[in-house]
Symmetry: C2
Subunit: 237 residues, 2 copies
């Protein structure tokens, strides 16, 4: 190990997305928790939850730990997003940040507490963040919107079964546009990605709606050799 | 910075894929260059090209530099693949490896020299590598095969324009199976991902074949906010 190599620090941060109503419009939109930095660089600024990688913990463990410490969240699914390592991203030090991301259901997000130094923000109207964290959030949002097209990722916001209206609301919230219900139904049913469970959802104001689940046999770009349990994403905390 | 944080080292490695004929069958298949380690741990074993991240170079710069130093390759396109950081991946030290990958055309790969310590291997029959590099190669192959389905990635193996036969050969080499020419043509033309240039390729043994190029307007899962030039992948060497 050279003196040079030791001068590079490794941090792990997380981007957590949940769907909540927009404060002004009431429409569902994407939110994420941020943490206020209590020391320099960027003291007082909002930043993604995270911290230095400990030598005895795996990357995903580190992500889960700092996330639990700051927001009390324990997402079922944490996926590595990207490693950010430009030389100028942190003044006076060289830090490579490995960023994880997770999507949490509303009931999971409900346990998250807000304090003076932990707050949820609408993803499209976050303030100027510490480091290159605005770029990281932009990239995570792009990945979320892009992945919606070719994977089962919307599932992470829903329960095991869901109605097509609920699935459409997830797509509308993520893409921030209205989708024609009939077109959406035709596209989703044509894609073979969801299959009817045979059950219906009752009890609402509307007539019973058919319940669906994701088709586990359909190709999905989200897993591969690093999928659980080969690369466990769940933390120890 | 804590003493703990300094104990984690950062390395950058690359997986370079090119298409070449299989040594036994003569069919096109995926190859990659490996470098023999000259010191412990894993002295004498083959490994991915790479080395420690220098404090004054960006991640992609480091990937391009070590790649050029070991193989003389300068791929037009280097993309970050994944960060591997399990605690047990390198005996007696903690190393997080940020892995880049690139696809190179045959004419680009032709400049690569083989020496006693640098050799190209068929991707499906590589030996037991140092560290977790077999897992890394498996993951890169999975990503390559998966991405072929939803992105323009096959383009990296071809020139600016190509015939549908050439494109089918790339798919066959990557997927390692024969594809029916008529079905392939129908699928590709139906996808809207390629458009005819209006020119034909002449001079071969066969009748002139129509030339195509990728449709730049079609959605592509390969770029986004980190695309060139926001996150330049080209090295300084």
């Amino acid at each position: 190990m050279t003196a040079h190599a030791a001068a590079v620090q490794v941090a792990v941060s997380t981007v957590i997305f949940a769907l909540r109503p927009h404060e002004d419009t009431g429409r569902m939109t994407v939110w994420l928790p941020l943490v206020r930095r209590i020391r320099d660089p960027f003291g007082g600024r909002w930043a993604l939850p995270g911290g230095p990688l400990e030598p005895d913990e795996d990357l995903a463990e580190s992500a889960a730990r700092t996330l639990a410490e700051t927001t009390l969240l324990a997402p079922q699914y944490l996926e590595q997003l990207y490693a950010f390592g430009n030389t100028d991203r942190s003044p006076g030090e060289r830090v490579v940040s490995i960023v994880y991301w997770a999507l949490v259901r509303s009931d999971e997000a409900a346990v998250a507490v807000e304090t003076e130094n932990v707050r949820w923000f609408e993803a499209d109207s976050i303030p100027g963040l510490a480091f290159d964290h605005n770029l990281i959030v932009d990239y995570a949002l792009w990945r979320l919107r892009n992945k919606l097209e070719y994977s089962h990722i919307a599932h992470a916001f829903l329960g095991e079964t869901f109605t097509l209206s609920e699935l459409r609301e997830v797509h509308e919230a993520v893409l921030q546009k209205s989708l024609d219900p009939a077109n959406f139904r035709r596209q989703i049913e044509g894609s073979g990605q969801v299959v009817p469970t045979g059950d219906v959802q009752t009890g609402g104001r509307h007539r019973p709606a058919r319940l669906y689940r994701y088709n586990r046999d359909a190709a999905d770009g989200t897993s591969g050799p690093l999928a659980w349990p080969a690369a466990p994403a769940q933390g120890t905390t």
